[in-house]
């Protein structure tokens, strides 16, 4: 059996030769020096940085702080706005890697803004799916609220689904009492899939200044330290909601990828791991088949069926 066949999976809008993709915000628009280190065509897909209607300058620095087995970030959705992305960023990426499925991360402060950004991106013909970021903890106008209230989350999903020409994955916030309720709400709103998890709201304090290290005070916690929370949430949601899940949250190794699958995931995104290991994605793609041999897993799509079928 050829490697790619064993790793291939099909999800709404996404025919992936392997399930590994950089997570939103950790790989820009593919326009960074990581691309010097491996061929982006090797990736299953790429999730690009959040797009908003207007350009956003983001949060004051410092935007990053380290924690034990984690990273706090408060970049604040800095981006040049959807129009520049459509005109300058996406065409470059799409032209350079015509076979690479692109998932566009959509953010906004109001429902109308989300809808407008989603509409424009999905109409571009350059993106295979949208990832609705209803969970970013680093914007103040209400970004977080969308992800913590089931009613609002459902309404937003529905509104975006009405305009989108490509499948919509909703990215859930872990900062909630009941993740299953949110997942069920966005499923009812017509989501084609879920992305989970976004970052946990955290803080570090500078002992010398006695105030928070991050310019934004709080930030989103990512990295291997949050993996057990991601696994738990994916496990719970996959048993309650019949939607494919793109898993993220602390994935570093092929073992981590398979742990996510066994929790109920259908694909994986890699964020923080890039910082220590810039070639995390191609490394995982290379290591997966060997791990699968050890664990007697024939193909990822079979594994999905086994895990999700056994619900």
């Amino acid at each position: 059996m050829r490697t790619d066949e064993r790793l291939a999976i099909e999800l709404p809008g996404l025919k992936l030769k392997n399930p590994v993709m950089p997570a939103s915000g950790c790989f820009g628009f593919g326009d960074n020096r990581y691309a010097e280190m491996f061929d982006l065509n090797e990736l299953g897909a790429i999730i690009i940085k959040a797009a908003t209607l207007k350009p956003r300058i983001g949060n004051p620095v410092p935007r990053i702080a380290e924690t034990k087995s984690g990273v706090l970030n408060a970049v604040g959705l800095q981006n040049p706005g959807v129009d520049v992305i459509l005109k300058e960023k996406l065409p470059v990426l799409h032209k350079k890697y015509p076979e690479l499925p692109i998932i566009a991360n959509v953010a906004g402060a109001t429902q109308a803004e989300y809808v407008e950004v989603a509409k424009r991106l999905s109409e571009s013909g350059m993106v295979s799916a949208l990832e609705l970021n209803i969970s970013c903890p680093n914007v103040h106008e209400g970004g977080m609220l969308f992800g913590t209230d089931p009613v609002i989350a459902q309404r937003l999903t529905q509104a975006v689904k009405e305009v989108s020409r490509v499948p919509v994955y909703v990215k859930l916030s872990p900062n909630v009492t009941d993740i299953v309720a949110i997942a069920q709400a966005v499923a009812a709103g017509g989501a084609d899939g879920l992305s989970m998890i976004n970052t946990l709201l955290g803080m570090r304090i500078n002992l010398k200044t006695r105030s928070p290290i991050l310019g934004n005070k709080t930030g989103g916690l990512s990295g291997p330290g949050i993996k057990p929370i991601a696994v738990r949430m994916i496990y719970q949601v996959s048993r309650a909601v019949d939607l494919p899940i793109i898993a993220m949250g602390g994935i570093e190794t092929a073992d981590d990828v398979l742990e996510m699958y066994m929790a109920g995931a259908s694909a994986v995104a890699i964020g923080t791991a890039h910082f220590n290991n810039p070639t995390a994605c191609p490394d995982l793609i290379r290591e997966l088949p060997q791990k699968m041999d050890e664990l007697k897993i024939d193909s990822l799509s079979e594994l999905i069926t086994e895990v999700r079928g056994a619900q």
Binding site: N32, E66, S69, F275
Partner: protein, 259 residues
């Protein structure tokens, strides 16, 4: 070309109080290194998620070594200082734009201004400028005598002016005051500075009104080091964070960057 390669520690030495020099041996794009470039060092402990940015203080493409000089700031640098000779660490680099070497020629007057851990990139710069035949003056500041390092290297390249905050060696005061105290001020073609924000601002204040080209090497809290995460932004225009220190810096035109 950017690589992440394993390097072996071949020397580890305390140069001054809490200041260490580590020499690493490994493969690298040595040809791509300019003074002011940096590397990101992965700490050999799984709890650390971020590589540490450190300037290249010297590099030798024949011996295949790079030299880093660092101060024990927090847990990461403390861990680094405890690594024995023989230990393997992973190095991502070379990164950053480096100092501009435009308009430097035999006899060109250049000034290097540095403080504390801003010195390592200036050490490599001083050597390169000296090799180009420039007349190099360096003004450096330390908190106190026990923290002084790099004297020999800077003296080898030209004139060294030295200040300590407490006056325990050299001029008593900071580097700004030291420069102000100089009665005969040369007309420098270029000034290169690296150090704390206060020092960089002083250099701006002092040289923006002059003809001197100003190159400031900035620090920034970094995650990726390659322009992927936008953690390390600075501004070259009001109301924006439009430049990444890691790829568009760390060296910026001192007349453009807003500190």
């Amino acid at each position: 070309m950017l690589t992440k390669n394993d390097f072996q520690i071949i020397e580890q030495q305390e140069l001054a109080h809490d200041i260490y020099r580590v020499i690493l041996h490994g493969e690298f794009n040595y040809a791509g290194v300019k003074p002011g470039c940096f590397v990101m060092l992965k700490l050999p402990d799984e709890a650390y998620q971020l590589r540490r940015p450190l300037a290249i203080a010297a590099c030798d493409s024949v011996q295949k070594t790079i030299t880093l000089i660092y101060r024990i700031v927090g847990d990461g640098m403390r861990l680094l200082s405890k690594l024995a000779v023989g230990t393997i660490v992973n190095i991502l680099g070379p990164l950053g734009n480096g100092f501009s070497l435009e308009n430097v020629d035999v006899g060109t007057e250049v000034l290097l201004v540095g403080g504390g851990t801003g010195l390592p990139p200036l050490m490599m710069l001083a050597q390169v400028l000296k090799e180009k035949g420039c007349r190099v003056s360096t003004a450096v500041g330390f908190r106190t005598a026990s923290m002084i390092f790099g004297e020999t290297e800077f003296e080898r390249s030209g004139q060294l002016l030295l200040a300590t905050d407490d006056g325990s060696r050299g001029f008593k005061g900071n580097v700004g005051e030291l420069l102000a105290s100089q009665t005969t001020v040369s007309k420098y073609t270029n000034v290169y500075a690296c150090g704390p924000e206060g020092l960089l601002k002083m250099v701006q204040t002092r040289f923006v009104p002059t003809e001197t080209a100003i190159y400031l090497s900035l620090e920034g809290r970094m995650a990726c080091g390659v322009g992927a995460c936008e953690a390390c932004v600075v501004s070259t225009g009001e109301g924006t964070f439009n430049k990444c220190v890691c790829v568009e810096g760390p060296v910026f035109n001192g007349r453009e960057v807003i500190l």
